[in-house]
């Protein structure tokens, strides 16, 4: 089990959250006509064995979207912040 320190609700079991995937992938502009940009956005992932910035939504709590920095090798969480305040 992971324990995620929600900045709104405090430490909670990760079962209260929904995973939202890699937070480092930037969505192309809505009218970007370049298929390559969309291909990369939809499909290509760094998938690091190590620190990973990722989205989690606290669905059974405050319902905020968070950005969690977690090590994918051992699940150690370095930081948790509100997704909205993070730079894109």
């Amino acid at each position: 089990m992971l324990r995620i320190e929600c900045p709104c609700c405090g430490p909670r079991d990760h079962d209260e959250f929904r995973y939202g995937g890699d937070a480092s992938v930037a969505r192309p502009a809505h009218d970007d006509p370049d298929p390559e940009a969309w291909y990369r956005y939809v499909y290509v992932r760094d998938n690091p064995a190590g620190p990973h910035r990722e989205f989690w939504q606290h669905v059974s709590g405050c319902r905020q979207w968070l950005v969690v920095e977690r090590d994918t090798r051992n699940h150690v969480i370095q930081s948790v912040g509100f997704a909205r305040k993070m730079p894109a």
């Binding site: 995973y19 995937g21 390559e36 990369r40 939809v42 499909y43 290509v44 992932r45 064995a49």
Partner: protein, 417 residues
């Protein structure tokens, strides 16, 4: 030494003390024609078929741990070819055909047991989609039967057929030739057979980087030093991104943990492989009597090779919804394996844009059944430089060109399932 009734008899007489080790403990030479990275089922099968089918014997398999320590020894051993999409159907059926002769081909009993797989349907619509699948399978020469509720009940009476079943069983699809195999034996059998052809199987040898000559890959850096190679094939299951990145490959892959579970041993109860059509749960009974089952991914990127308790609960809930009679059975063990999840749940097996580098990965949680066909086709691809026709659909470019094989319907986010 070949295994035979006579060799068992002779070794019995001498107190079982004179068996040879199954494969040599090889140390790396300076260079090989082909280096396979990853001593799992796929890597070892590839090495075997390179030698057996193509006469390429100057081959090394480099394994960072021990042979069989990865997913080949962690999976729930289900083998089937009840796929729907062109490309998948033919490939997995070719694999089942190879499984049917594998113990003979390897002179090693992989205990392939064609006990049949039943997937339950829980609505009329679901049974319709299963009928569609069965028709496609039959058109491809694959066995498939559609069962109504009474027929399912006759075969697997221990499922929940009561009035209170959460998702009542409407019927099922059955593939009689599907089944299970002893997963460790598959790794050991391929290792021994490849070794018999002169392939060096080198354990405790981690590949940490690549050696280049211009743009071309001409070898690997390892924990046992630098080794030259005419061609390098990656078959590292859940770690394809880690190695791919070192070679400069950008991949549509996320690594996720899948768990497996074994209960205490029971008397014979489950004769088939049974999969629950209303949730992600499937079960078979091992020869020792334990019920072996699996469910969903843990659901977030992970290289940790261990799972979490939330999934234990979910899988137990699904198990009891389908089979109330096991509610008091104790779970003995559970463990996790790290898998490459691709956006369309189909594998990536192809030459890569990097000269000298070939890729076999992205098997998601279904690659054990593919082991023989994967090895066969990857060996062909390595030997000839061209994809085998049966893996033409599994190229890396299919995402860019929109020709995905979305068999499981997972979409671009593996964790959404």
């Amino acid at each position: 030494m070949r295994y035979s009734a006579f060799s068992i008899f002779r070794n019995g007489l001498s107190g079982q003390k004179n068996w040879q080790r199954a494969w040599r403990a090889a140390e790396p030479k300076g260079a090989y024609d082909v280096i396979i990275v990853g001593g799992g089922g796929h890597g070892l099968a590839t090495a075997f078929y390179l030698a057996e089918n193509h006469g390429v014997r100057n081959v090394a398999v480099l394994e960072k741990g021990y042979v069989g320590g990865g997913n080949v020894g962690r999976n729930t051993t289900v083998i089937r070819s009840n796929y729907l999409l062109d490309g998948n159907t033919q490939f997995y059926e070719f694999s089942v055909k190879l499984w049917e002769g594998l113990s003979q081909a390897l002179n090693f009993n992989v205990m392939f047991s064609q006990r049949g797989q039943i997937v339950t349907a829980h609505s009329a619509d679901q049974l319709d989609t299963f009928s569609h699948r069965a028709n496609i399978m039959r058109l491809n020469g694959i066995d498939a039967d559609i069962l109504d509720r009474d027929e399912v009940r006759r075969l697997v009476p221990y499922l929940d057929f009561s009035d209170t079943a959460r998702f009542p069983i409407h019927g099922a699809i059955l593939q009689g030739r599907a089944g299970t195999a002893r997963h460790d034996a598959v790794a050991w059998g391929y290792a021994r057979a490849a070794d018999g052809h002169g392939v060096d199987i080198i354990q405790n040898c981690e590949v940490t980087g690549f050696v280049r000559d211009g743009d071309r890959i001409v070898g690997v850096e390892t924990s046992k030093g630098r080794i030259g190679a005419g061609k390098v094939g990656l078959a590292v299951a859940g770690h394809t991104s880690v190695l791919g990145q070192k070679a400069g490959l950008e991949l549509p892959i996320e690594s996720h943990v899948l768990q497996a579970f074994v209960t205490e041993p029971l008397k014979p109860l489950v004769d088939h492989v049974v999969a629950y059509g209303a949730d992600h749960f499937y079960v078979s009974q091992s020869d020792k009597g334990g019920l072996v089952f699996g469910g969903n991914l843990d659901g977030y990127n992970s290289y940790a090779q261990r799972g979490n308790l939330g999934v234990v609960r979910e899988v137990a809930e699904a198990a009891i919804a389908l089979m109330p009679c096991i509610s008091r059975v104790r779970l003995l063990r559970h463990w996790g394996g790290v898998m490459d999840m691709t956006p369309d749940a189909s594998p990536i097996i192809c030459p890569t844009p990097i000269d000298g580098l070939y890729l076999n990965g992205g098997w998601c949680y279904g690659g054990f059944k593919a082991t023989p066909a994967s090895g066969w086709c990857f060996a062909h691809t390595l030997a000839t430089g061209k994809p085998h026709p049966l893996i033409a659909a599994y190229g890396l470019d299919r995402f860019r060109t929109g020709r995905t094989l979305d068999e499981a319907g997972v979409g671009p986010s593996a964790w959404l399932q």
